[in-house]
């Protein structure tokens, strides 16, 4: 038995069979343990899985799933509940809108009765917005910091599999759970929002609650927060401290993202030369985001549109004349850009996440325990 081969479990069958016979008279627990050795595929019949269904896992995947199963199941169950709730809410909302003749009838005319639906929308966006912070703090930070603090990293490193494999499996499974959860939430929330997407009174597409909770953005934000938390955990090697620092990190990510969210768009500028009278404002698409607007002068310069805030019409006109204002210059980002902006922004988040993962893998080769 001193020769070792690379196959999956060469010694398993031999001793397993002999033990099985000897074990027949012993208690059921041990018997079940041995059974799995004998038939390596019947993992689901193992002692610890009796009564509950779970996917058939083996090797490192089994270990990582077993270690973090409480967290993983909590995330998946909470996701399922949230999805069910949002599907229900969407049904309620579309029923209401149908009965009030929307979209033929303007949503503002439906009035106060629609208010509760907007409120549940707002509370949903609030809940979705804290997911990156929650998962970063409670899933990311302890993911490796716990093993480093308890010494179980040494235990795993002492087994035959490489620690890079352990690291990659941990990141992979945690990442998979995060992606599944956030993708489902993002898709269902987007579906819930779609009937009233054009209504600025419900949500403006360029606001954080809409932009950050639909499409690929929540996936990117959550992945960066979680893997950032993992990296903080491996550097600090203390679970509690890592959680506190990760909280700060994830909040900082949210704030920075809020600053840069709209810089992923292509700003379109329209210039008019029909003066700046009451009906002269250029027509821009409904729901477009307007970063800024100016007065355009004859020489092509832009001046602030507040320069001629005079008390009388005559004084205002004289002022405009004097400044040689010939029309408007308006910047906007149309709603149609939302999707591409989200993907552009999310790809930046994914790239940052990849950098964090690269750091973790390099660090893991050097000192993981």
């Amino acid at each position: 038995m001193s020769t070792f081969t690379g196959s999956s479990n060469p010694a398993g069958a031999g001793p397993g069979t002999t033990t099985d016979g000897k074990n027949g008279t012993r208690n059921g627990t041990m018997n079940a343990t041995t059974t799995t050795t004998t038939t390596n595929t019947s993992t689901s019949a193992d002692t610890e899985s009796v009564g509950t269904w779970r996917p058939r896992l083996s090797g490192m995947t089994w270990l990582v799933w077993r270690q973090h199963r409480a967290a993983f199941w909590t995330i998946l169950a909470a996701t399922a509940l949230s999805v069910a709730w949002m599907v229900y809410q969407r049904g309620q909302m579309t029923d209401f809108l149908d009965s009030h003749g929307y979209p033929a009838k303007n949503i503002d005319d439906i009035g106060e009765q629609f208010r509760p639906y907007i409120d549940s929308f707002r509370s949903a966006t609030l809940g979705l917005s804290v997911i990156p912070i929650l998962l970063g703090v409670f899933l990311g930070a302890p993911l490796l910091a716990g093993d480093l603090e308890n010494g179980t990293a040494k235990l795993v490193a002492a087994q035959s599999m490489s620690r890079t494999r352990w690291l990659v499996t941990k990141l992979g499974l945690a990442g998979l759970v995060v992606v599944v959860s956030t993708t489902a939430l993002s898709a269902v929330f987007g579906w819930w929002w779609s009937p009233v997407k054009s209504e600025a009174t419900v949500l403006e597409w360029f606001s954080g609650p809409a932009f950050d909770n639909t499409g690929p953005v929540p996936v990117g934000l959550t992945l960066l927060s979680v893997f950032g938390g993992v990296a903080i955990g491996v550097v600090l090697r203390r679970t509690l401290m890592a959680m506190v620092v990760t909280f700060g990190f994830t909040v900082a990510v949210q704030i920075l993202w809020g600053q840069f969210r709209l810089s992923f768009g292509d700003v379109i500028t329209v210039n008019t030369h029909k003066g700046v009278g009451e009906t002269s404002f250029p027509s821009i698409p409904d729901g477009a985001y307007q970063p800024d607007q100016w007065y355009l002068t004859g020489s092509g310069d832009l001046v602030g549109w507040g320069i001629c805030a005079e008390p009388t019409e005559a004084a205002r006109n004289a002022c405009l004349e004097k400044a040689d204002v010939v029309g408007w210059s308006v910047e906007y980002i149309p709603t149609s850009q939302m999707n591409s902006m989200q993907w552009f922004g999310a790809s930046v988040l994914f790239a940052l996440t990849a950098a964090v993962v690269a750091f973790l893998v390099v660090w893991g080769r050097k000192r993981l325990v």
């Binding site: 010494g151 040494k154 235990l155 087994q159």
Partner: protein, 318 residues
């Protein structure tokens, strides 16, 4: 007596191993060789670098200087990873796992896993398989951790203070299990401890580290045979000048008597009583006198190490 040992494949060889932490060197210029099939005690005072040495061999730490080879492989390699098992001092286990799940961990992560060997060790301690690790006593946890290490069927078992938190009865019992398993499978064991009594009937090989370096290394019988304990009447302050031709390891005086541990370079003659030391006396002498010349017997020397002449050929014959 030592011909066969030279031929033996080394389980572990350390070449000029050094490890520096922020507070200084924990291990410096540490070289020795451990032949296969030996039960080796790694002895030294607290902070001597025992844990560091074992951690480097287990690929938990990277040495600052030098290198270790396990069966000719570097510690990080897949081959040495399979052939070596390491039990860290704190005996880390997943607290929420059951005993059966802990053994499954070993099975899932080790291709050469021996479920029966692991189960037998657990069963011998009457540890219930469905108990959570967090509910076990210290002795039971050590037993499960040992089962995990042995189930891997290692050729080299690295144990860091395996018995430190156990009561004497459990300690004796687990040591018995360990020796039986090691003997059955021909496992090489490198076990650190500072309980000298633990070593007496267990180890057939010794490595003493102190002050960061190797003070003593070699076969127990060989080490014992080249040392003599000399007792006699005190003359003046230090040990008698007539002992000067021998290598003095340590001398102490109590009342009108002196006791000296020497490595004789020829017959010890004089008005003294000579005796062979016990292992504990030998170890204590070396641990108490860090300035004593180190002794590394030929079986424990790595290539190119014998040049310092610390082991006279005449002494081997004795």
């Amino acid at each position: 007596m030592s011909d066969g040992m030279y031929a033996g494949e080394p389980a572990l060889e350390a070449y000029g191993l050094g490890m520096r932490y922020r507070r200084g060197w924990a291990l410096k210029d540490c070289s020795f060789r451990l032949p296969t099939g030996r039960i080796c005690g790694l002895v030294g005072p607290n902070g001597a670098g025992k844990t560091t040495l074992l951690s480097i061999a287990a690929h938990v730490l990277e040495p600052t200087q030098g290198s270790v080879s396990l069966f000719g492989e570097t510690p990080g390699s897949a081959e040495s990873g399979r052939r070596t098992a390491f039990l860290a001092q704190e005996k880390p286990l997943f607290r929420r796992f059951t005993v059966a799940e802990t053994l499954r961990l070993g099975r899932e992560l080790n291709p050469g896993w021996d479920q029966r060997a692991a189960e037998d060790i657990v069963r011998a301690g009457n540890v219930p398989f469905d108990a959570k690790i967090s509910t076990l006593s210290g002795g039971q946890r050590t037993r499960v951790a040992l089962a995990l290490a042995f189930g891997k069927r290692p050729d080299l078992l690295l144990l860091d203070e395996p018995m430190s938190d156990l009561d004497p009865v459990v300690r004796h019992e687990i040591m018995g299990t360990l020796l039986a398993e090691a003997a059955e499978h021909g496992t090489t064991v490198l076990m650190s401890t500072h309980v000298l009594a633990e070593l007496e009937n267990v180890c057939d090989y010794l490595v003493v580290v102190s002050g960061g370096g190797v003070r003593l290394a070699g076969d127990v019988d060989e080490l014992m045979s080249v040392h003599t304990l000399v007792t006699g009447a005190k003359e003046g302050d230090g040990p008698p000048a007539a002992l000067g031709q021998h290598t003095l390891v340590e001398s102490r005086t109590s009342g009108r008597q002196f006791t000296a541990l020497v490595r004789p370079q020829g017959p010890v003659t004089g008005p003294w009583e000579t005796d062979s030391p016990t292992m504990e006396e030998l170890l204590l002498a070396y641990l108490r006198s860090p300035e004593a010349p180190p002794l590394i017997t030929p079986t424990a020397q790595v290539q190119g190490q014998g040049l310092d002449g610390s082991f006279g050929t005449g002494a081997v014959a004795a």
